[in-house]
Amino acid sequence: MIPSFPGFGLGLRKQHYADFLDDRIDVDFLEVISENFMIDGGRPRRILRDIRARYPVALHGVSMSIGSADGLDGTYLARLRALVDDIEPLFVSDHLSWSRIEGFSSHDLLPLPYTQEALDIVSANIDRAQNALGRAMLIENPSTYIDFAPADMTEWQFLDALCARTGCGLLLDVNNVFVSASNHGFDPIAYLDAVPHDRVRQIHLAGHSQGERLLIDTHDQPVPLSVWHLYAHVLPKLGPVATMIERDDAIPPLADLMAELAIARGIAAGGMEKAA
């Protein structure tokens, strides 16, 4: 089982490098996008080492493509392993999705049908990745815009089976649960009640936007009240977890993100009403 890390953190973005390097910011960990640092050298890699000297760091990937029917990219795994060895991260995570097939890379988190065949393929890919990395991974539930129903199982049943088969843990993105529930008409509370709680090691909190017909996982807004309510609902069911605010676009001043993190801390300490 992946060790727990109770704490509150932020996704590290370029706009805040100086804040974190010049001052000791009150976060328990920082999460970085793995691919931004899977490079040979230069300033980005040096900054990550400096950050790591000051804070625990989680590596969060977007391009492993664990759902690819034609397997994983060995070059990618080798580069990620080198980064893992260098940084010694808290967690290594990626998404329950696919982005690459037969030499084509979409650079987007594309959805999977929750079928027995997909479960076999994703399990085999996670096994290979974990062997290559020498450690267990966290897998994040995605926001999806296509429902491949009828499927063999629900998303939470699929995640439960993945954890049992591969020993991976879960990165529970509460915003993604809300977005997918809204887009596909399922109950987010039922999802959060059914997900394997003992496997959750990290939580993402983020915002979304209303598209023409669907909710879009834009990560360019503050965490909305609807997502805070879901976080307050699921948190007491979980063991010690690392909670973080994930913002990828329209990056605000660090103080705004710290204010959101204070809400998360408040919910963890005293519940939704006290935080509000």
Binding site: R45, S68, A69, I101, F104, D108, Y145, I146, N183
Partner: protein
């Protein structure tokens, strides 16, 4: 439908707007497919805009967007890293604008600088490391970040003016092609035009010529004294610019 067949259909929808592929994915999938296609194309355009800002400044937003869309339609992304997507963009620009080669050359400069920024680190040799060097037999190893770029137009001067926010010169073909030398001094990316003699010296040293052979070569061309002086100047510049990784 197998997972492989489904993924091929989604790829075909994203890259070619294959409606038959979309129909096989599902009749209710159209709104979601539109979201994924918009994400795909928007992200690639944003990647090119971020990597080629001076090129965009030079040709303007509309012409740049036209080139980006053409590139996305003709060159699907293949690497795990989005940073690699711009690798063939100078070639696309050269194809779209064959009479305006400076456009592709400005893009090539930006691409080379982006690669330089994340090139492998090395500890540069300093003057203090030279005490025990056997110069006749010495092999000079340059830093891994060093790159050379062949230029047929004044694209470098245009790029420099755009960086300095000055009025760029009119584009023109050079009387004689030039070579730009790119390297990283610490974390700073550097670029300068290199002369013929220094270029020849750099290439010879990279091919394994000893420093003694380089001095002999230079003496044949310029005479003993002038040859030694010019090689000394180059060595001094390469050392102070942190271009040398080892002298053995």
């Amino acid at each position: 439908m197998s997972l492989l067949a489904l993924q091929r259909d989604m790829r075909d929808w994203l890259t070619q707007e294959d409606m038959a592929a979309a129909a096989r994915i599902g009749v209710t999938a159209e709104p979601g497919l539109a979201v994924y296609q918009n994400n795909y194309r928007t992200q690639l355009v944003a990647c090119l805009e971020s990597s080629f800002q001076r090129t965009r400044d030079w040709i303007g937003e509309d012409m740049f967007l036209h080139a980006a869309v053409n590139h996305i339609d003709s060159v699907p992304p293949s690497s795990w890293t989005l940073d690699a997507y711009g690798r063939d963009f100078p070639a696309t620009l050269a194809r779209l604008h064959p009479a305006d080669l400076e456009i592709a050359e400005i893009a090539a400069i930006e691409l080379a600088l982006e690669d330089l920024f994340v090139a492998a680190d090395c500890v540069a040799v300093g003057v203090e490391d030279l005490a025990d060097v056997d110069w006749d037999r010495a092999i000079v190893t340059f830093a891994p970040s060093i790159d050379l770029l062949h230029l047929e137009t004044n694209g470098f001067a245009i790029w420099q003016a755009l960086v300095d926010q000055k009025e760029p010169p009119e584009p023109r073909y050079l009387d004689k092609p030039e070579v730009a030398l790119l390297w990283r001094e610490g974390e700073q990316c550097r670029i300068r035009i290199v002369g013929d003699a220094e270029l020849k010296a750099l290439l010879n040293l990279r091919r394994g010529m000893t420093f003694g052979e380089l001095c002999g070569d230079s003496a044949l061309s310029l005479g003993d004294q002038a040859g030694a002086a010019v090689v000394g100047q180059w060595l001094g510049a390469w050392l102070s610019d942190q271009m040398i990784a080892a002298i053995n």
